[in-house]
């Protein structure tokens, strides 16, 4: 079976700094895969390379069997790869409903249409409302994104991403800013996505990582330090040293 997403020797430098070095990585179909690592290890940069937001210095990205290294960002989305942003990146002046509907339009290829009116697209609006309900945002559907508290905006990030109905979902610290009690639920929604959807998420909250990840890759200084099941990673002394630290200190 081919991998859902694969990289081959992927690298990216910023000037003298090698943020990502020679990463060869595989995301299996239906995976629930966590990417962890110290701050500045290159996780976000790696996701940016996957989505085409940044061009790599060298190396290749494959989606299924196809190489997509040079493909434009929006083309990759069309092929089913969607991401959320670590630093919230939304449509500040649109309402939550509009944001989600827009993403659905783009997915269905009618976002460039001049034929119909937005208000008449009941099917898309209903679908949007469904997603919004799932993330418990229904009270805020009519609010302008800008006026929402930070935590709600994090949920909108996810709602917009889900609306593109991705086959591969890349989440950059999706639970940041969401209270511990609720972040579990958010991950519940993600975990409950159909198995065709492969999920790669970056997360610093180890409770969530160990609860939801089936496989973990640890990135450090731009390279893969370790990869394995949660048990393997949790027990890996190198990972403990550079990343996990001494659990006791946190109690």
């Amino acid at each position: 079976m081919t991998a859902a997403l694969r990289t081959q020797g992927l690298s990216r430098s910023f000037g003298a700094l090698k943020a990502v070095r020679e990463v060869s990585f595989t995301l299996e179909p239906g995976a629930r895969h966590a990417l962890i690592g110290p701050n500045g290890a290159g996780k976000t940069t790696f996701v940016n390379l996957l989505t085409g937001a940044l061009p790599p210095s060298s190396g290749a990205v494959y989606l299924g069997a196809d190489e997509i290294t040079g493909l434009a960002q929006h083309e990759r989305v069309k092929r089913g790869m969607t991401r959320t942003f670590q630093i919230t990146t939304l449509f500040p002046g649109l309402t939550v409903l509009e944001s989600v509907v827009l993403a659905i339009f783009e997915r269905k290829g009618i976002a460039a249409s001049l034929q119909t009116r937005v208000a008449n697209r009941t099917a898309e609006i209903h679908e949007a409302i469904h997603i919004i309900r799932e993330l418990r945002l229904e009270r805020d559907a009519g609010s302008v994104t800008r006026s929402l508290p930070y935590g709600k905006q994090r949920l909108v990030e996810i709602a917009v991403a889900l609306a593109t109905r991705p086959r591969i979902l890349l989440l950059d610290e999706p639970a940041a800013g969401i209270p511990a009690a609720e972040s579990g639920e958010v991950f519940g929604v993600i975990a409950a996505l159909p198995r065709e959807v492969s999920v790669l998420f970056i997360e610093h909250d180890m409770d969530l990582v160990f609860r939801f990840a089936e496989r973990i890759t640890v990135l450090a200084q731009g390279s893969i330090l370790a990869e394995g099941t949660p048990q393997e990673i949790g027990a890996d002394p190198r990972v403990r040293e550079v990343y996990l630290g001494d659990e006791a200190a946190r109690g």
Partner: protein
């Protein structure tokens, strides 16, 4: 469905209908100011076209005159060379302006706001110089003065009071406005607003941002070209200033004055600016700029978001008052 779930629908509101009826009534109420009224409508249309690009897609341009001027010259040159039928002239002008917009969009849409501002300005200034050089076609600085515009539908001549011109302009402006309105309420319009709010996010939901921008720039270009052609046909003269810096700059002022991202902002802004200019310069032909400047400054200080902002706030106040009552 609860209020939170409704999207702004595209039905014509009473205020909108009243607005257009009022523009029609101008014909009867101000019969001696029809020339000014047509120029307001034409400039308003030009501003609406900028609104699509600036107010909706968030692309600032200081060179919108490039398309306006192209339209004006195409209509003018056609009419001078025996093709004086106005409607087909309008159509040709719109096409030509769209072509210019399409070609230049690949330059104009790169970079950040300030870069775009200057690139668009540069393009229009280059066109200005080109028109100055191509004196054989354009008449250079002296302008194009031998236009022979035929009677509208072969029946209605363009008279000195500007009656035909006004009705013709009103009809064309209304139709083009309806088209713009349609664009704004379509999914395409929503995606433009998405681009304005965050191009990065748009790309991340799979939107070909650049292509969308090219499309809207071209559309707006066609509209600007039609506005230019209307001006040429109704004044029967084309001067170099149709491509000038102040044409673009004044346009930006009018649009912001009226409120961008609202569609009516362009029309309202043009009316306010041109009528104020006309009245003030009658009162004092030399120092009127001072009062116009003061008016602008006051609008900015008192009404955030232009006239639109002021209206929204006033109606919110009224709404609040009503609820409390």
């Amino acid at each position: 469905m609860s209020v939170a779930f409704s999207l702004p629908d595209a039905r014509w509101r009473a205020a909108e209908i009243a607005f257009w009826i009022a523009t029609g009534l101008v014909f009867f109420v101000f019969p001696s100011h029809l020339v000014l009224a047509s120029q307001v409508l034409i400039t308003g249309l030009f501003a609406v076209s900028l609104d699509l690009v600036l107010g909706y897609a968030g692309i600032v341009s200081l060179g919108h005159a490039a398309m306006f001027g192209t339209g004006a010259y195409v209509a003018g040159i056609l009419a001078r060379n025996g093709w004086g039928e106005p409607l087909s002239g309008l159509f040709a002008a719109g096409l030509a302006a769209a072509a210019v917009a399409f070609v230049t969009s690949f330059l104009a849409l790169r970079g950040e706001d300030l870069t775009r501002l200057m690139v668009t300005l540069g393009i229009s200034l280059l066109l200005y110089e080109a028109a100055n050089q191509a004196g054989v076609w354009t008449g250079g600085v002296d302008g194009l003065s031998d236009m022979q515009v035929r009677d509208l539908f072969g029946v209605f001549p363009f008279d000195i009071r500007g009656r035909t011109a006004y009705l013709y302009t009103l009809a064309v402006v209304f139709l083009v406005f309806c088209a713009a309105r349609r664009v704004v309420h379509s999914p395409f319009g929503l995606s433009l607003r998405g681009i304005r709010e965050s191009p990065r996010r748009m790309a991340a939901i799979g939107s070909p941002v650049q292509r969308r921008l090219v499309v809207v720039y071209t559309l707006a270009g066609a509209m600007a070209g039609i506005a230019g052609a209307l001006l040429a046909q109704t004044t029967q003269f084309v001067g170099l200033e149709v491509l000038g810096f102040s044409r673009s700059a004044d346009l930006l002022i009018m649009l912001v004055l009226g409120g961008a991202g609202w569609l009516y902002g362009g029309l309202v802004g043009a009316a306010l600016f041109l009528v104020a200019q006309s009245l003030l310069s009658r009162l004092n032909p030399v120092y009127w700029e001072f009062w116009l400047g003061l008016l602008i400054v006051l609008v900015v200080l008192l009404a955030r978001g232009g006239i639109n902002g002021a209206l929204t706030r006033v109606s919110a106040r009224l709404g609040l008052a009503r609820r409390q009552a």
